[in-house]
Amino acid sequence: MTSHHLISNAQTGASAARPAPVAAPGLIHWARQNLFDGIYNTIFTVLCCALLIATVPDLFRWAIWDAAWTSTNGADACKATTGACWAVVQEKYRLMLFGTYPYEQHWRGALVVLILGGMSIVSGFRVFWTKWLLIAWGGAWVAIFVLQLGGVFGLVSTPTHLWGGLPLTLLIFFGTVIGGLPVAILLALGRQSNLPIIKALCIGFVEMVRGVPLVTVLFMAALIFPLFVPESMTPDKFVRALIGMLMFFAAYAADIFRGGLQAIPRGQYEAAEALGLPYWQKTTRIILPQTLRIVLPALMNDIIRAFKNTTFIAIIGLFDILGATKSALEDPIWVSYGTEAYLFVIALYFVVCFSMSKYSVSLERDLNKGNVR
């Protein structure tokens, strides 16, 4: 046996645990790392600064410094300046927000918006996710329909063809999402069904609706549907538009849910089945809660799109907030200040969509807290 030298070695022991090294702080250091990091980055930074310097002061002057905030005598103040004419918003906001709804009843529409907004914010907090929230929503919807339709408790009757503006936009949106989500889930579950007829129907519906533009669906609902169905059985235009929007949303959301369902490991189904859970308990307690977590980002994307899609109903003669703004601007005195009015509407849409987007991110983080590996 030859003597053998062992090369492999490992030293035992270590220094005491110590904090991780800290990155060098300071604004200048940050800028050097992120803005002036190499020649191309530096050029890009300089170009961006130049662009900002060229545009921001002008924008500021137009939107704020030179803007006409109020105008007492028609649009005179607006004519006198080169800045923005925000007076158009002050002058027309009630028409823009409530459309063709009777002027002296606008407070009812405003209340509907407040109820929907308030309930939405409350529903955003997980601590309120109890059965009481569902009951509150039930009550809220009764109140909303009483306020919006009238005809009871001494309220003037305001049928759906008078509805318009923000309340109409919100009612179509909430109706689409609240009605569309269960339909979407059923469609997605139906697609997994062992029964060939149910499976074929669900696939057929989803593919058919996804195969046509939203505008076509709305035209079908508004114009073609009444041709085939006797007038006495035709629901009014609001309901038809809502059903059209709902079907369109449901078809897209169904496919999102289908993807989510496919991502649930087989073992989850098996564990639930081995415990003897029947189909609906397995689905609602085990599968869907996990699916919802997976699909949340994509679903929120679709919900935000559904909100923006409400503008399409203007095409079939319903005055949502965009449609109402358009008709408010037909006033010859204000007709040339559409930009400012539309900017106001854009801001409204942005606030709502951005809030939803931010909320979805925080909810995602919140829901994932429990199962970080």
Partner: protein, 250 residues
């Protein structure tokens, strides 16, 4: 074992199953009496997991009879539910519900399926968590536990339904080596309490200690079945001998 069928908890008669053209279970005949422990071993792909998954109908057999607790498994959904209520199953990958706490994982099924009031179910859950030695984890989520802890929770979850039979499908195969014994200990205690068990495992030490019968499967058929003393010292079939040589050599 000819007369065992009178008192057998589980009886399989000429069970056959195919995956497409692949004949995965071939003429399986087996009886398991009340309180008996059967360990099934064999090379991968031999059909042992498929076999025990047929016993609670996670897989469907095409020919033959499977009778559990006197109930025959057929297309009848009622029978399937009835069998599943009496048969617990522990999986290789634990399959805990990741969106529920440990406690809720345990409480869910008895609460929903057997309408056990929540408080009673929670009391039983804590008792069982005590038994598998992790009561302090009750309010954590499965993702926060180690593999061995998760598998012990999974065993407790099955016991919540007060099963008469427990099926184990390679319960330690997905575990890190240092966690295997904590799970086997719990299973051993369960065996000592008289639970009827069918266990697919490669843990031959466990088989020697606990099993009444060791079954060796290969290519979808039962090659050899014998009590452990005989099985490990005096295997008759050359395939069994070959398998034992491979598995016991290290």
């Amino acid at each position: 074992m000819t007369n065992a069928s009178d008192s057998a908890t589980i009886e399989l008669r000429n069970v056959n199953k195919w995956y497409g053209d692949f004949h995965v279970l071939r003429d399986i005949n087996m009886q398991v009496g009340r309180g008996e422990k059967v360990v099934i071993c064999g090379p991968s792909g031999s059909g042992k997991s498929t076999l025990i998954r047929c016993i609670n109908r996670l897989e469907e057999h095409q020919e033959g009879d499977i009778i559990v607790n006197g109930v025959e498994l057929t297309q009848n959904v009622k029978n399937i539910d009835e069998v599943r209520r009496h048969v617990g199953m522990v999986f290789q990958n634990f399959n805990l519900f990741p969106h529920l706490t440990v406690l809720d994982n345990l409480v869910l099924a008895p609460n929903l399926v057997n309408s056990v009031p929540r408080q009673d179910a929670e009391n039983l859950a804590m008792e069982l968590l005590e038994r598998v030695r992790i009561p302090e984890q009750a309010n954590k989520y499965p993702g926060q536990l180690s593999g061995g802890q998760q598998q012990r929770v999974a065993i407790a979850r099955s016991l919540m339904m007060k099963p008469e039979v427990m099926l184990f499908d390679e319960p330690t195969s997905a575990l890190d080596p240092e966690m295997i014994s904590e799970v086997l200990d719990v299973m051993g205690e369960l065996a000592d309490d008289g639970m009827t068990m069918i266990c697919v495992t490669h843990e031959m030490g466990f088989a020697k200690q606990v099993a009444d019968l060791v079954v060796f499967m290969a290519d979808g058929e039962v090659v050899e079945a014998a009590p452990p003393t005989e099985f490990f010292t005096n295997a008759q079939n050359p395939r069994t001998q070959q398998f034992l040589k491979q598995i016991l050599s290290h």
